[in-house]
């Protein structure tokens, strides 16, 4: 995180959880960056990453794990899905290469 701040970047976690659930989650795992609630799945749909999960024979649509890096012009600089989105070093590396100003 400190590494990312040095690159003039902010991080948001996003899921379908409520703000209350996200806040409890943030406190539990000790993250300092905001966790955002996409409760109506609007952003997940716009970003095309709603994924169907089958739990006890019922289907649920939640986020697919994906990390986007958006530069200061609002342009996507990197998209990582599933396993590669888990390691934050990739996003840090992208941010490090972006211009500071």
């Amino acid at each position: 995180m400190a590494k990312l701040e040095e690159t003039d970047s902010v991080v948001f976690g996003i899921s379908i959880d409520s703000p209350a659930a996200n806040n409890a989650f943030a406190e539990k795992i000790g993250v300092k960056f905001p966790l955002l609630s996409d409760m109506n799945r609007k952003v997940l749909k716009e970003y095309g990453i709603l994924k169907m999960y089958n739990v006890q024979k019922e289907e649920y649509d939640w986020a697919q794990r994906t990390t986007f890096v958006v530069d200061k012009k609002g342009i996507i600089q990197s998209v990582e899905e599933e396993a590669s989105a888990i390691n934050p070093n990739n996003a840090v590396a992208v941010c490090t290469k972006l211009p500071k100003k």
Binding site: M1, P19, L35, L36, Y47, K51, N54, T66, F68, P88
Partner: protein
């Protein structure tokens, strides 16, 4: 400073680990994967969402100011 930085990285790694565990568990029962059609070079669709303190966050507020890392995760508390 270096020490603080290191701790922060640990926290980030812990979050990623928690999210990973949830994903792995959820992935066992996947029925359908949607791949995003967004790619590098595309404009990121703007959004307004509530953060964990019920404050509205607009992606567009960061235009011209900060790079933004959007880390979508499956569900909170899914680390098992």
């Amino acid at each position: 400073m270096a020490h603080i930085g290191f701790k922060s990285i640990i926290v980030t790694a812990a979050l990623a680990g928690c999210m990973a565990a949830g994903a792995i568990r959820a992935a066992q029962e996947d029925v359908k994967v949607n791949h995003t059609s967004l790619k590098s070079g595309d404009m990121a669709p703007d959004f307004t969402l509530l953060d964990n303190h019920w404050k509205q966050i607009h992606l567009s507020d960061y235009r011209g100011k900060k790079n933004v890392v959007l880390a979508f995760y499956v569900l909170a508390f899914t680390e098992g």
